[in-house]
Amino acid sequence: MSTVKLYPPKPEKVYFFGTCLIDVFYPGAGLDAVSLLERENIEVLFPDGQTCCGQPAFTSGYRAQAIDVARHQLRLFDEPWPIIVPSGSCGGMMRRHYPELFDGQPEEQAAKSVAERIFELTEFLVHVCHVRLKDHGPDERVAMHTSCSARREMGLADTGPALLRQLSNVTLVEQARASECCGFGGTFSVKHGKVSQAMVEDKCAAIEAAQAEHLVTSDCGCLMNIDGHFKYRKAKVHGEHIASYLWRRSS
C-alpha cells in the first residue's frame, strides 16, 4: 500500500541517481533528466561513487549481495537533499525495499533517510517543481507506459501522463490494458523468455492499436523491452525515455 507522501518545497540542490541501465545504455535520458532539473534552477549533484541500486540481485534471490550493494549507495547522500531517480523500479527499490533490507541493522536510519528522500523524476517534476512545460514539437500521438514499479511500488500512475498532457501538441492515447506489465521483469525476461516475449508482443500490439506514433516510459527496463520489440519488428512506433521526450519538445 502506498502511503501519502508530503512533498517538500522546491530545493536548491538535488542528488541524481542515474541508474546503471541509463549509465550504460541510455546516457542521453540521464542527461536530459539533469537538464530538466537544471532548468528549474536546481543544482544537480551527481555522486561519483554511484553504481547500481542492487535490485537485480535482490529480485533474483541474492538478498545478502543486494544488501551489500545497497549499503554502498547509502553512503553517497550525506547532505539532506532530495534524491532524484529517473526510474520507477530503482526508485521503488530504494524507497520501499531499502528500509526493509536494513530493518534492525545499524544502517536502518540511513536507509530510512535515503528512502524518504527518493523521488522518481516525473513525481519530482510534478509535485515538487510544479513544472510548466512549453511544447515546441509537432502534433503527435503518444502512448505512455508507466512501469509496474512506478505504478504499484511508488503509487505514481499519474505523474508521467500529467507531464505529457502539458505538451499542447501531444495527444496522449489510451491503450488497452495500460496497467499491465510489459513483460520485462529483469531476469524474468531471460528465465521465462517465452512468457516475457508473449507479454511484450501484446503490449506493443495494444500501443499500435491505439495508433500511437511514439511510446514513452519512465523506466529503461521497460524501454529496452518495448522499444526493442518495436525495433525488431521494424514497427513505426518509436520509443523513448520520458525525460528525453519532455526535454526534446520543451527546450
Binding site: 500500500m1 542515474g18 541509463i22 549509465d23 550504460v24 545504455f25 546516457p27 540521464g30 542527461l31 539533469v34 551527481f46 561519483d48 561513487g49 554511484q50 553504481t51 547500481c52 542492487g54 540481485a57 535482490f58 529480485t59 533474483s60 534471490g61 541474492y62 538478498r63 545478502a64 549481495q65 551489500d68 550493494v69 554502498h72 509496474c148 505504478r151 504499484r152 511500488e153 490494458r177 499491465e180 506489465c181 513483460g183 520485462f184 521483469g185 529483469g186 531476469t187 524474468f188 525476461s189 531471460v190 528465465k191 521465462h192 523468455g193 517465452k194 512468457v195 516475457s196 516475449q197 508473449a198 507479454m199 511484450v200 501484446d202 529496452m224 526493442g228 520489440h229 525495433k231 525488431y232
Partner: protein
C-alpha cells in the same frame, strides 16, 4: 498429453505449449478481461481499500489465534452435532473420508466444489476404495468428464469454450451438439439431478468455518452445494485448517470481498450456513455431518511469520485473473492444484522447492496480484523470499531450499555485488562493456527472439556529465 500429467517441474515446456495454443489464449484472455472488469464494477460504490483493510485484519486476527480457534471450532461443532476429524496429511484426509464412506456402506458420492479435495486427490483415493465420486459443480463436472484437473480455483473449466464443452458432452453423455450454453447447462442439470437423490454421501468444501458458533459457510451460485449438503444422508465437509474465523460477525466482510474479488458479484445465488445434522423437526438435512480439517503442510507455513501470511488467503482467484502470466498460460501450465500467483507460494510449501523451483521465478514481480488481493497478502514479497530460499541464500526451513542454486549464477551475483561496492572497478567494467559494444552478438537468446539486442552507448552518463561540466 493429458493435463493430469503436467508437472510444476516442466513449467517451461508447458508454458511454451500453452502460449502456442491460440484457442487457449483466446479463452483465457476473454474470460480474464471480463472478470477484471466485473470485479472493478462490483466495488464501485465501496471503499475498496477500507474493505481490504478490514478483510486483512479479520484474517490476521484468526491466524494469530489459530490453535485456540481450531479447538474452539471443534468444541462448537461438536455442540452442534458435527463430528470433527483432523487430517495431518493428504493420506490422512483420504483415509478418514474413505472410512466414513465405508462405514455407511457408501458406493456413490456427490461432490460440491472443493479445492482441498483436489489438493488431497480425494476422487482418486475414493476410487481406489471402489467408491465413485461425481462432481456436481458445473465446471468441475465438465473437468471430470474430460478427465482433467481444474485450470482455475473458482472457474475450473474456464479453459474451455462453449464449443469444447458441447463436443465433450456430446461424446460422453450423448447430448445434442449446440452452441447454446443455456441448453448445455440444462442438459447437465438434468444429468445431475438424480445423482443427488441416489448418492450415499455428499462431500463439500467450506469457505469460512466460524469458531464461535460452529457454523460452516459455503458460498456458491448453482445450488449444487445446497443439494450436496442436504439431500444425501451423510455430509462430509473438507477444508484447510486456515479457513477458520473467530466470530460470526467476521463473515459478512469476507463474503463481500470474496464474491466481488472472485467474479465481480455483489452476492452469490446461494450462501449456505451449515450448523449441524437434521434435528428431527426440520424439513430436510443429513443424518450425519462431519468436518475434516486438513493440515497438509499448513502448520509448517504457520511457523514462519512471513509465509504464514499466505494462510490469509480466502481462495477468490483474483490474483490469477489479474496475473499477466496466468492470463497467458492458463492454470494447467503450473502443473499444481493451486495455479497462479498464490499457487506459486503455496505449492512450494506443499510439495517442496525441488519440483516447484521454477514457479517463484515465473513472475515479472509486476505486483498486480498484491494490488487486488482482498486480504492484502504481499505476494510479490513472498515470491522474492522464495527465490532467496530456492537459490540457497535464505534462512527458512522450506524443503528443497537451495535446489535452484547454480554455482556460476551465484558467482556472477557475488561478482556483481563486489563491483557495485567498488566504484573504480565498476567504472572499469563499464568501460570494458563500452569497448566491446560492437562485439555484442546479434543473437542473445531468448532476448533477441523478438527484440533487438541492447547496445551499450559509446560513453556513459557519468562520462557525458563530466564532459558537460568541463565545457
Amino acid at each position: 498429453m493429458s493435463v493430469k500429467t503436467f508437472t510444476p517441474a516442466a513449467f517451461h515446456h508447458q508454458s511454451a505449449q500453452a502460449l502456442s495454443n491460440p484457442q487457449l489464449r483466446h479463452n483465457f484472455r476473454g474470460a480474464m478481461d471480463g472478470l477484471m472488469a466485473k470485479r472493478l464494477g462490483s466495488f464501485d460504490s465501496w471503499d475498496i481499500e477500507a474493505l481490504r483493510d478490514l478483510g486483512q485484519g479479520i484474517r490476521q486476527k484468526a491466524l494469530r489465534h489459530l490453535p485456540d480457534l481450531l479447538e474452539q471450532l471443534e468444541a462448537s461443532c461438536q455442540r452442534n452435532g458435527i463430528t470433527v476429524h483432523w487430517a495431518e496429511s493428504a493420506d490422512d484426509a483420504g483415509r478418514v473420508i474413505t472410512e466414513l464412506c465405508k462405514a455407511r456402506g457408501a458406493q456413490s458420492v456427490i461432490k460440491g466444489k472443493s479445492m482441498v479435495s483436489e489438493e488431497v486427490e480425494l476422487n482418486a483415493r475414493l476410487a481406489e476404495a471402489g467408491i465413485e465420486a461425481l462432481e456436481s459443480d458445473l465446471g468441475e463436472y465438465i473437468v471430470q468428464m474430460a478427465d482433467e484437473t481444474p485450470s482455475h480455483i473458482i472457474m475450473p473449466a474456464i479453459h474451455k469454450n462453449t464449443a469444447d464443452i458441447s463436443t465433450l458432452m456430446h461424446q460422453r453423455t450423448g447430448t445434442r451438439e449446440t452452441n447454446d450454453a443455456e441448453e448445455l447447462t440444462h442438459a447437465a442439470r438434468a444429468q445431475l439431478r438424480d445423482r443427488f437423490q441416489t448418492a450415499d454421501v455428499g462431500i463439500s468444501g467450506v469457505n469460512f468455518a466460524v469458531a464461535e458458533t460452529g457454523t460452516l459457510c459455503l458460498v456458491e451460485n448453482e445450488g449444487n452445494g445446497r443439494l450436496t449438503t442436504t439431500v444425501p444422508p451423510v455430509h462430509i465437509a473438507i477444508t484447510g485448517i486456515e479457513k477458520v474465523v473467530a466470530e460470526f460477525k467476521d463473515v459478512p466482510p469476507l463474503y463481500a470481498l470474496l464474491t466481488r474479488s472472485a467474479i465481480g458479484q455483489n452476492v452469490t445465488t446461494y450462501f449456505n450456513m451449515i450448523s449441524g445434522p437434521w434435528r428431527g423437526q426440520e424439513v430436510d438435512g443429513p443424518e450425519e455431518v462431519h468436518l475434516v480439517l486438513v493440515d497438509n503442510g499448513r502448520s509448517r507455513m504457520y511457523q514462519d511469520e512471513e509465509y504464514a501470511e499466505t494462510l490469509q488467503c480466502i481462495r477468490c482467484g483474483a490474483c490469477m485473473n489479474h496475473c499477466p502470466v496466468y492470463t497467458r498460460v492458463g492454470g494447467h501450465t503450473y502443473g499444481t492444484t493451486y495455479p497462479g500467483p498464490i499457487g506459486k507460494i503455496l505449492m512450494p510449501h506443499l510439495l517442496g522447492l525441488n519440483t516447484t523451483k521454477n514457479l517463484p521465478t515465473a513472475s515479472s514481480l509486476c505486483g498486480a496480484c498484491g494490488e487486488v488481493c482482498p486480504v492484502r497478502i504481499p505476494i510479490p514479497k513472498l515470491l522474492v523470499r522464495l527465490r532467496n530460499e530456492a537459490v540457497g541464500e535464505g534462512k527458512g526451513n522450506i524443503e528443497g531450499a537451495g535446489s535452484a542454486r547454480r554455482p556460476m549464477e551465484a558467482m556472477g551475483w557475488k561478482l556483481f555485488s563486489w563491483l557495485a561496492r567498488h566504484p573504480r572497478c565498476w567504472r572499469i567494467g563499464v568501460r570494458v562493456v563500452q569497448a566491446c559494444r560492437s562485439a555484442v552478438p546479434k543473437r542473445v537468446a531468448p532476448w533477441t527472439d523478438n527484440r533487438v539486442r541492447p547496445t551499450p552507448a559509446a560513453t556513459s552518463l557519468k562520462q557525458q556529465l563530466a564532459q558537460r561540466r568541463r565545457s
